[in-house]
Symmetry: C2
Subunit: 161 residues, 2 copies
């Protein structure tokens, strides 16, 4: 029998993984040409959304305090620059490999956290602030990143096939 | 001090409410004309997405076993029919009022649930099946409905202004 605490964290991890699996299946099935499609006229290309999700997942490693980033160079391309403005955009193959490596590490490191550790602070809040705002914990990050994947997958499925 | 269990349910309720607030602010600020915009060429109109989210929230009341539906008539319009095919589509004003009433009831009834009650079965799983699959609980519904709102809000923001 799992504890009630573990039931909550297991459910939230499952929800994250379900959204991630949906993204994984969607993006990795597309050709480099198909990844050039835009979700709507004048909006982001699919390859940009994919890189954006990869960068955000990668950034969860230090934010949750569970590991070093694998691809910090993605930030300037997929977080700090709008689509189409960055140089050195990875190819579809490179992005696919990075995506796979990031998610494997992230999922395995997150699975290793005990329920009580999910209620500990994340690294972008100081110990002082966390004492006053204990809701700024790892669990809140997990929930917000789950919604973030869903948000962009809602967009991705709109791209013309 | 709240219990660890309450920390998890409070965080998940907060994530749901944040997504709902985003939808609320987005849709209720739009005119009836603006609600006719499509999220992408040939895709759903904003008014349809709004009604869809209202119907899904309304359906959470019996699914969570916390209340009767306020607008069961929304299902045939916003869940079972694609956009543009149903008769008797409510006006923007009617939808806005229904949306408000549904969410007020839903949020207040959900706030009243104790952490342990979130781990109880939802009403679309039988007691027998729940004994084998205890993850099919109210908490899983809350998480999936949070992602569902985010998914459609990702689409809604793409509509031309």
């Amino acid at each position: 029998m799992s504890t009630p605490e573990a039931s909550f964290t297991t459910a939230a991890l499952k929800a994250f993984r379900q959204n991630l699996d949906r993204a994984d299946k969607f993006f990795t099935d597309l050709s480099a040409d198909q990844l050039e499609a835009r979700v709507a006229p004048g909006k982001n290309r699919l390859i940009y959304l994919w890189g954006h999700l990869a960068a955000v997942n990668d950034a969860m490693l230090p934010l949750l305090g569970i590991g070093e980033r694998l691809h910090p160079e993605f930030d300037s391309i997929f977080l700090k620059s709008p689509d189409g403005t960055a140089a050195d955009v990875p190819s579809a193959v490179e992005l696919s490999l990075a995506w796979k490596a990031i998610n494997e590490k992230l999922l395995s490191d997150m699975e290793a956290l005990a329920p009580a550790e999910w209620l500990e602070r994340h690294t972008s809040v100081s110990e002082e602030d966390f004492a006053k705002e204990p809701h700024r914990n790892r669990f809140a990050i997990l929930l917000s990143r789950t919604s973030h994947i869903a948000y962009h997958m809602g967009q991705a499925v709109l791209a013309p096939k």
